[in-house]
């Protein structure tokens, strides 16, 4: 395949706080896939974190309300229907416009466009829009596992071996 190296943005762990965290897992407004959500919940729980699974087809307002209700340490957005790059950009702009949610760590991953690896990445645009990290499907789940294993996930930075994004 002629696709460019997969774009991935890896977090930089902060050493000063550790322990289990509260994680909110959610889809985006137009995406009804749920196996991805079920899988991510199980995976994140295996790292000792607590998960609130908001489910499929989550309107932006509902996600914002759920963030206020549960006060998560981190939000994990998953989308595979191909609209993730559109829904994700809109959603994160809404979230970042809320003063109390502007600094909340929010990551996104999945099949974010409709053209697969050949379609070029959406990582850069999504990071610019306000996500802390982007895990495109082509990269595999390894990066995210490392991320979850990190003692703290609060500080995220654009770094990593294969990151031409910024």
């Amino acid at each position: 395949m002629s696709a460019a190296a997969p774009a991935v943005i890896t977090p930089e762990p902060l050493p000063d706080t550790t322990g289990p965290r509260r994680v909110l897992v959610s889809s985006v407004s137009s995406d009804s896939h749920t196996w991805n959500l079920v899988f991510l919940q199980l995976l994140i729980e295996e790292y000792g974190h607590t998960v609130v699974n908001v489910g499929a087809c989550v309107p932006d307002e509902l996600l914002i309300a759920e963030c206020r209700r549960h006060r998560p340490d981190m939000v994990v957005i998953s989308s595979v229907n191909g609209h993730g790059h559109l829904d994700g950009r809109r959603l994160i702009a809404r979230l970042r416009a809320e003063p109390d949610l502007a600094d909340l760590p929010v990551v996104i991953g999945g099949k974010l466009g409709t053209r697969g690896a050949e379609g070029g990445g959406h990582t850069r645009a999504l990071v610019e829009a306000g996500f802390d990290a982007v895990f495109e499907d082509s990269v595999g789940i390894g990066e995210f596992r490392r991320y979850l294993a990190a003692p703290d996930t609060r500080a995220l930075r654009t770094a990593g071996s294969a990151a031409p994004a910024l």
Partner: protein, 443 residues
């Protein structure tokens, strides 16, 4: 096979196309194809119409239209952004009709495929476009496709069925009940839901119906399930025009081209050997991205060829009594639901509320979430726990939860089996006898 088939004569274009193929002894193959623009969608219809395979056409709608967010669909069109299907409401019925005519597909039978719990706007648009066939159902397009409460989907589907039946003589409606989340739903529940949605459609005025079943993890078990579906449909829908539609595997797909094609061919062989009238295909792009027109045409021709040349082997045969068991289990579910209330519109939500119907791993708030399933050592899909469903062959109660890797293992079972067989001809076909046979065909 001396299988029962529908009795009344179809009048609509879609049902007539399927009936004509049936009397010619040919399988109808159909894509799941949808593109955002009129130019792409029109070209796609034209290409599908023009293939050597016996086809009907499909317009698959995008996710914004499915959730009723037509403004986002229109905005994406304006900005020339990627959409995962054709936004029929944003384009409008008239534009769609003109697109079909311009593609030279005016006499082509075309079905609109969507995935919407509240489909009235879509039904109106397809009627305006001059079309007479669509699919879905109050359960199958609610639980796997939305967070809409089931009672709202039931109301909306009842109204939509009535509008379709009143405004389009001979309209055809297919139940998507044979899919339910695409994977890990045991056959008896798929068969029961398909028939229940068929009964619902009939109650709301439709007389031309198809019942679906999606290829699962075991060829012989699928043969048994299709026989059970046909028998149960005959018992409940005897006085309507009906046929059976098979979906090529709807779960996690093989990543390799030969693996994907082998799975597709296997589904076509399954359709041919069971006397199934129509097959909806998947393409080799399935695991990766939205398929192109070429991907679709190739899949249609491959499936059609595989059906024409299909042969049976002893390994295809279900176990003694396997079809009867699936039929009995599905019939028990259907009866338990219909006994809850005289009105099926009330009976279906009541059945989910009590856990009489309960789809494994479905997160929807109206699903009881007490059931679990697994793939056994012979590749068959089985109940691990049946919660409160009226199933005698498996334990009740709630099963222990599985881990992430275990879940991924079950979800990837078919993918792995077919990819391995495609990449390594020496791989043991133990778990899925079918994969071993396919190796020879792929060469």
């Amino acid at each position: 096979m001396s299988a029962p088939v529908g009795r009344t004569t179809p009048t609509g274009s879609f049902a007539a196309a399927v009936a004509a193929a049936r009397s010619d002894g040919e399988l109808v193959v159909q894509p799941r194809m949808g593109f955002p623009t009129v130019a792409q969608m029109g070209a796609g219809l034209k290409a599908v119409h023009g293939t050597s395979a016996r086809t009907v056409g499909t317009i698959t709608l995008d996710s914004y239209t499915r959730v009723g967010d037509h403004a986002s669909a229109a905005r994406a069109l304006e900005r020339d952004e990627e959409l995962n299907g054709f936004p029929i409401v944003a384009h409008g019925g008239r534009t769609t009709r003109e697109m079909i005519a311009a593609a030279g597909a005016g006499d082509f039978a075309i079905q609109v495929r969507h995935g919407s719990p509240l489909p009235l706007g879509i039904v109106q648009a397809l009627i305006d476009a001059g079309l007479d066939a669509t699919e879905g159902g109050p359960v199958s397009y609610c639980l796997p496709y939305s967070r809409t409460p089931l009672v709202e989907a039931v109301d909306a589907w009842a109204r939509s069925c009535e509008v379709l039946a009143e405004q389009v003589p001979g309209a055809h409606l297919e139940s998507f009940g044979g899919c339910m989340l695409g994977q890990l739903c045991p056959p008896s529940l798929l068969v029961a839901l398909s028939v229940l949605e068929g009964v619902f459609f009939r109650r709301h005025g439709l007389r031309s119906i198809s019942l679906s079943y999606a290829q699962q993890t075991s060829f012989p078990q699928d043969v048994a399930a299709l026989a059970a579906l046909r028998r149960l449909a005959g018992e409940y829908l005897g006085d309507t025009d009906w046929h059976v539609v098979l979906y090529t595997y709807m779960g996690v797909f093989p990543r390799t081209v030969p693996g994907a094609q082998a799975l597709l061919r296997e589904s076509a062989r399954l359709a041919a050997l069971t006397g199934t009238e129509r097959l909806i295909v998947k393409t080799a792009a399935e695991a990766h991205r939205i398929p192109t027109i070429e991907d679709n045409v190739h899949a249609l021709e491959t499936a059609s060829e595989a059906a024409r040349t299909a042969t049976a082997t002893p390994a295809d045969r279900p176990d003694e009594g396997e079809a009867e068991e699936i039929h009995a289990e599905a019939r028990d579910m259907v009866e338990a639901v219909l006994e809850l209330h005289r009105d099926i519109d009330r009976a279906i939500p009541a059945a989910f509320a009590r856990g009489y119907l309960d789809v494994p791993y479905c997160l929807h708030a109206d699903n009881a979430q007490r059931t679990r399933s697994h793939i056994d050592s012979r590749g068959r899909l089985r109940w691990s726990s049946v919660g409160r469903m009226p199933v005698r062959s498996a334990p009740g109660g709630t099963a222990a939860s599985v881990g992430a890797d275990e879940l991924l293992g079950m979800l990837s079972h078919v993918q792995n089996t077919f990819d391995r067989a495609a990449l390594d001809p020496a791989a043991s076909p133990e778990a899925l006898p079918a994969a071993g046979r396919i190796r020879q065909e792929t060469k």
